[in-house]
Symmetry: C2
Subunit: 396 residues, 2 copies
């Protein structure tokens, strides 16, 4: 499926969502997208805008793009917008178009809670205030977060297919790691092996190459968004990898754990197995709640309570974030109602959402046990998109 | 020079600039930089921030970063910030740090004119309003555009070296094109040749791969930010390429023009040579004005007047934009005072600025003649960083 087909699919969806939300107009305003970009732009245009560009989607189904002269040809290629080119200023055509459509509500991409709906810069917000000052439209601006949450969150068939592809590639690369693993490999060695596979397959990284994959060997590594270092795989310790690829612009995000058997061992030690089981029990407790209509924080709470009741400490992060064009795709999160998540944990789960579910426990003296699986929300529950790692992988 | 060294170099510069501008504090606030990012972040941190992260540079020289727990390790690696990690909310530590520093002025990354200084989203602006509501600091926010203009614009020795490297690679790739050129090659063929070189050399693209290089063959192609198409090189016509690479995170941006000799010709036709000369005369007229202290629009006006006086139509774009981490690096532009440029043409040229200078003319029946060269502003004029294409390149 070509990029323009995917863009047209999402544009069609966006008109439906505007009608459902009873919002008249959705305005995405961008400027020099080499420097700053709005994550909505790739979804509804998949193009670059050198000068200030306005992309308007109306509940009437009309779609208008007002872009600099030299960007006209590439926006016309989408075949979905009436394209207006300008030379000196975006404002006259923007004002005329909004006046002609006469919307009662105009959604803009700003949000207190959702980074995916917060692509409008404050400078561009000021430009809109100035451009529409003295008109009734200046009082009709509102956050687009409900639109963006639905549009990014409800994955189309084309999007689901692409995410499946990214997950499949990731699992194949984990297999390569499994075959290569032995004691004495450094985190840097293992990352190099993974990255050679990514590049040979022509894939991209789901996040910054410097810490994709994140590789954590043994108990002394501080787990986080940090680059692989010099810790090595050792007998009697764990190896943990957090890794995702971008394939045809869509991402995977998975974690896998290996245990390197000590001399004489044929399975992982009791404490590790116990932690592993508790972690899976808590993920399953979350999964049991995950269905259309569930509220984000309630799903997290079920999983969190299971883990804490089993005597483990509470993870300092969300059970679930959405997955799509970005590894952290915004919208509803399955997270506690902490300030940093804003209103996002109060969001409602919908059919077609794809979540990365993750939790982790430190096993003292062994290393970090992190689970992360990718699931699709179906009409009555979930479908596992990844092949769940139900057992620790043993390295002899 | 490692990334962290470059970051430390720019951080040192930023403290000097704060003192010079008499601004007490510069606050860069970001959130989930996989989705939206502030172009200042790569300059002063070169890192990823999964949660909301605040990077504070004080005129006292103090540098503080308040980031999510899992981002602490990677920010600590920079070795320049006092790093405060948080779990639930960025606000308490942010408020405490600002209260302790007690700044009279707090620069934020929003700007009406400069995309490079407009990375703060409107949602994050609202977060700051809310976090500091009821404190005196809420009235001390101001635009950081003067800081960002100076910091991005005054290239450090390490940055100049990297841009030289990108230009050198680009010129070598143009040579490869020159050797391969003959009549009957399509724009797509030529772009594939260029991109094979880029990828073999391990370089990145200065802008989106779909139109980097832009390849324009003959008189029927609409010149702009559009992908290469099916037009082919023909005898008696021009080939124009607009191309740049990213090497060690810094960009080049150059245009080159070839003329494919017709049967019996040993030079380009008179009309083409005349247009070429007029274009160079206008670029040189701009260069004559380009020195520290010059005002952006005045430099453009000198070049523009030269071209119009020679009887050619006025280019619908700026004579000069800055070049750096981005091919369009923000700050002062050498451009007419059109609305879309905001206040940027009123900026003052400084020593250490690097500009891409470009103008173009359509030669009827032949194609597009576009010149673009990269220059460094020195104490008393400019140094050509690219080897200026003073003559059309002839293909026999």
């Amino acid at each position: 499926m070509a990029v323009v087909d995917l863009v047209r699919e999402k544009l069609g969806q966006s008109v439906e969502i505007l009608r459902e939300q009873e919002i008249d107009l959705w305005l995405t305003l961008v400027r020099e997208t080499l420097l700053t970009t709005d994550p909505c732009l790739e979804l509804i245009a998949g193009t670059y805008s050198a000068w200030t560009g306005a992309f308007l989607v109306s509940a009437t189904g009309e779609k208008t793009a007002i872009v600099g002269r030299f960007d006209v040809a590439s926006v016309e290629e989408i075949g979905a917008y009436e394209v207006i080119g300008y030379d000196e200023s975006v404002r006259p055509a923007l004002r005329e178009t909004v006046e002609r459509l006469a919307p009662q509500s105009i959604a803009l991409n700003y949000s207190d809670s959702d980074a995916a709906a917060d692509g409008l810069t404050h400078g561009l917000w000021r430009l809109l205030q100035d451009t529409f000052s003295g008109t009734p439209f200046v009082d009709r601006f509102m956050s687009s977060e409900a639109i963006v949450n639905a549009l990014r969150g409800r994955k189309s068939p084309g999007e689901i297919e692409r995410i499946r592809g990214a997950i499949h590639e990731t699992e194949e690369i984990f297999d390569v790691v499994t075959h290569a693993l032995r004691p004495g490999l450094s985190e840097v060695d293992i990352a190099a092996l993974v990255q050679a596979e990514v590049e040979q397959r022509g894939l991209g990284y789901a996040w910054g190459r410097d810490h994709c994959p994140a590789v954590n060997a043994g108990p002394d590594k501080e787990v986080g968004h940090a680059p692989p270092g010099q810790f090595t795989t050792k007998r009697g310790e764990l190896l943990h990898i957090d890794f995702g690829v971008s394939s045809a612009d869509y991402c995977s995000d998975l974690q896998r754990v290996w245990y390197i058997l000590d001399d004489g061992e044929s399975s992982a030690p009791h404490d590790v197995i116990e932690a592993w089981s508790a972690l899976w029990a808590s993920l399953d407790a979350g999964v049991a709640e995950l269905e259309p209509g569930a509220v984000g924080w309630e799903v997290d709470a079920a999983a969190r309570e299971s883990l804490v009741t089993a005597g483990y400490s509470e993870p300092k992060f969300a059970l679930g974030h959405q997955l799509g064009r970005s590894a952290h795709d915004g919208g509803t999160v399955l997270a506690p109602r902490w300030d940093r998540y804003g209103a996002a944990p109060g969001g409602v789960v919908e059919e077609g959402n794809i979540f990365a579910l993750e939790y982790g426990i430190t096993a003292p003296g062994r290393g970090y046990i992190g689970l992360e699986e990718n699931v699709l929300v179906t009409a009555d529950g979930i479908e596992w998109l990844s092949t769940p790692q139900r057992e620790l992988w043993l390295v002899s």
